[in-house]
Amino acid sequence: MRNLAKTVFFSLLVILAFAGFANFVVPQLQPAAPPEDEVLDLSAMTMDQFVALGGRVVEGKGTCMLCHNEVGGRAPPLSETVAQIPVRLADARYEGSATDSASYLYESMLEPSAFVVAGFGKAGSGDTESPMPNVSGSSIGMSEAEILAVIAYLQDLGGEDISVEIPEDAGAAAEDEEEEDGEGREPFETVEEIIDEFTCGACHMVAGEEGDLGPNLNAIGGSRAHDYLRRAILDPNADIAEGFEADLMPDDYGEQMFASELEMLIDFLAGLQGEGSEP
């Protein structure tokens, strides 16, 4: 028993030492919070604010500084990019389609491998493949407006005239996107709201609506089960209802809806057995 007590005490001491080291010797840095989309009101933005937005994206959501910093030497510093663009475009290896600074920056962000700065390619690719991800892809997930803002910021940073414009109707577009995006809003509470918001009724007869581009859904639950309905909504072209056209129904509901909404909607549809359309 004495030995047990001694070994337990010793082990606890060791654990305590490790925990203490991790808590008190190592600085407690809070890892970055998950990025959140800013609510953009571009219509009311001045160019200065637009440039500032670009700066925030570069330092935050864009994770650009992870690679583009002086210390690590893993990517060329962004402060010098603009000055280098004429050199890049004149490079014998350049085969992209950019013609000026804005289009080069745009291409660099969306197709990083279109031109790879010498010495920075993925190991073994002979500078044909860039380690930089496409910034609109899901790992960074920048919107068109944010990409333009970054271009404005980089041009400003390099002391060049800004050649992009704040997107025209982007004010409205961005807000729309915000809403569809699902992130800037609370999930809807009722099926009626969901059907209304996602305009199912524009094409379907359902919940009192009278659309006729798609099949009548008022009795859909009688012939179709949950799994089928889920697929029909998430991936409409997987199976085309007879007599109707493919590619008509939006295929991005999966991205727009919260999971809870989807489930509610499917339950509702599955419960529609005919006769009166209201459940």
């Binding site: 991790a22 890892p31 998950p34 690679c67 893993r74 998430l234 919260f258």
Partner: protein, 616 residues
């Protein structure tokens, strides 16, 4: 082996041949079963997909987009903490029960080869400890499953759409593993003697084959979450289960885990032996458990030596998969984690070496070498300090501001990779030197060329260390960044050559050597046993810490870039929080381990209760 008559030798040869053949056949069968299993599954998936589309349905749904409301909550309990603990405890026990059969198999084979029954007894005792742990592994696996389904239903749902097939095979393999394990353990004393012993060893081999495949399956699920494959950009599964399994980080993690598990398993049975040693009452018992602890430590160090290389390979593959992920791992906030890792690994090397040095007291002949020990200690501590020096920290701007600068204030030049590689290699070479002194401690070489042999050993170590230093310094400080890592491979090769060549050379020098003084098992100070405890605790803690970083580098994703974590716990916690969770886990783990040790002890006890049973 002492085989007297020719006919006996002939019979032995037949048995060896038959046994080897059977093992090979079973191994091939196991491999074939797995291969067809894997090949069947995509084909099978295609069939089901085809069948589904024939009915006008396609088979797989993309992961849903989640909000915080989609995560069920139970009171104020942190769901992440529960799943974290359940997963980590399951992993610890699983690592243990999968590792023990690996070295039990080897020890049993050594016993059969040397016909020294002590090995057989020790192997049996090891497997006995892992039997109770096996049930706990299953219970904890159930707990993990339950808490995942309860707290992360959508994630679980998505993973099952991709891994339905492999989960099915996992369950099958689990049953197979249990069946073989029980026959292996309960049949140990029954399956003794020439032919039966081979049969038993074959069972051990099958146990390991099944166990390894089992772990590889589970590994594919976690690596899928880090480096998804077999799905499109929206996460819709292609139906090819093999592609999803064979994702980019699968093999690097498989390798790192197999090796780390053996080291971890060795350290846990080492703690078992140490505990038994401290409580032993007779000299025989003391001798037995001393010997067992020595072997456990030997297993742990042998697996520890290649681990850094497996670790660097894993890192390289993470960078190759995604540079963002690689930088998140080695730079930014996690850079500090590797300082903690260095402290832990330093503790491992120091305690393992310390145990060896204490063990030299088992023979009076060791006094000849005592004077070298302090130099070894100094060298290892020095190497440890260099390794411990922080990397140049690559940080985000906010983190830079919080720290006040990109470089750690102390010793910038020692923080770079070539310096660290050099330090690791030096540590490993010095540990192998400790081993050499230990092996020599009770012997005197009798071959005529001893002096030349020793000079050759000295030359080997000196030249090797010189080469390691030269490569590190030259590539670290006199070439530009691109070539900095170029040193690591020749350094590793040098280290391996030193270890192998010095072992072979010593074998020849000590051929037919005289014993100066016998090895007296049991003559070892109690503090050596505490080194074994330190080894076990540090290993367990290290595993927990690395589990945190493995999950942490996915950041706010359940499945990287495909399924976002929208729960309230999406943000990666601080190092301190993680350390506290890991510590809590380690404490629970050891409470359970003590329970397991205790059970294996009571199972051998018998209380006499005179007068209780009616006289028959």
């Amino acid at each position: 082996m002492r085989i007297s008559s020719r006919s006996a030798r002939k019979r032995r040869n037949v048995i060896v041949a038959v046994g080897a053949f059977m093992m090979l056949a079973l191994l091939l069968l196991a491999v074939a079963a797995n291969l067809t299993g894997l090949e069947i599954s995509p084909a099978f998936a295609e069939e089901t997909a085809a069948a589904a589309s024939a009915e006008g349905e396609s088979a797989y749904a993309p992961p849903p987009r989640l909000s915080a409301e989609d995560y069920p909550r139970v009171g104020n309990i942190s769901s992440r903490a529960i799943v974290w603990l359940a997963a980590q405890l399951h992993l610890w026990f699983a690592a243990f029960v999968l590792a023990v059969p690996i070295f039990v198999f080897i020890i049993e084979a050594i016993g059969m080869y040397t016909r020294d029954e002590r090995y057989d007894k020790m192997a049996y005792e090891f497997i006995k400890v892992s039997i109770t742990a096996y049930s706990l592994t299953a219970i904890l696996g159930g707990l993990l499953l339950f808490s995942l389904i309860l707290f992360y239903p959508d994630l679980w749902g998505y993973l099952t759409t991709v891994f339905k097939d492999t989960m099915f095979y996992y369950a099958l393999l689990f049953f197979a593993e249990s069946a073989i394990l029980y026959i292996y353990y309960y049949g140990w004393n029954w399956l003794q003697g020439d032919f039966r012993k081979w049969l038993h060893l074959t069972l051990g081999l099958m146990l390991n084959a099944v166990g390894t495949v089992l772990m590889f399956l589970a590994n594919s699920w976690i690596t899928f979450m880090m480096s998804p494959a077999g799905v499109d950009a929206a996460g819709v599964f292609s139906g090819d289960a093999w592609a999803a399994m064979h994702n980019h980080l699968w093999n690097p993690i498989n390798i790192h885990r197999v090796v780390a598990n053996v080291a971890f398993g060795g350290s846990i049975v080492g703690a078992y032996a140490a505990f038994k040693f401290l409580n032993a009452t007779t000299p025989e018992e003391k001798a037995h458990y001393d010997w067992m602890g020595y072997n456990a430590n030997f297993i742990a160090i042998s697996a520890l030596l290649p681990l850094p290389f497996a670790g660097y390979y894993l890192t390289a593959e993470i960078y190759a998969y995604s540079q963002q992920m690689g930088i998140t791992l080695m730079g930014g906030v996690f850079a500090w984690l590797f300082i903690i890792q260095a402290v832990l690994i330093g503790s491992l090397f120091l305690s393992a070496n310390y145990y060896l040095w204490c063990g030299m007291g088992r023979s009076d002949g060791a006094e000849r070498y005592n004077k070298y020990v302090k130099w070894l200690a100094l060298g290892i501590v020095g190497a440890f300090l260099v390794w411990f020096t922080p990397h140049t920290l690559v940080l985000t701007n906010a983190e830079l501001k919080a720290l006040g600068g990109p470089y750690h204030k102390i010793l910038g030049p020692l923080g770079i990779m070539p310096a660290k590689n050099t330090a690791v290699n030096v540590m490993i070479v010095l540990t192998s030197l400790s081993f050499m002194y230990y092996r020599r401690s009770n012997k005197i070489a009798t071959v005529s060329w001893v002096a030349i042999g020793n000079a050759a050993q000295i030359a080997l170590f000196t030249a090797g260390l010189f080469n390691i230093f030269f490569l590190g310094i030259y590539h670290g400080y006199f070439t530009n960044t691109v070539y900095k890592v170029a040193a690591s491979i020749p350094q590793v090769m040098t280290t391996l050559i030193i270890i192998v060549a010095s072992m072979v050379l010593d074998r020849f020098i000590y051929r037919g050597a005289k014993e100066v003084a016998p090895l007296r098992w049991g003559r070892v100070p109690a503090r050596a046993q505490y080194a074994l405890f330190l080894l076990a605790v540090a290993f367990t803690w290290l595993m927990g810490l690395m589990g945190y970083i493995r999950s942490g580098i996915r950041q706010h994703w359940h499945v990287k870039d495909i399924m976002r974590d929208a729960s309230v716990d999406a943000q990666t916690p601080t190092m301190g929080y993680a350390a506290n969770m890991v510590s809590l886990g380690v404490i629970i783990f050891f409470v359970m381990v003590i329970f397991v040790f205790w059970l294996s002890q009571v199972s051998g006890k018998k209380s006499l209760a005179p007068g209780y049973w009616k006289a028959g």
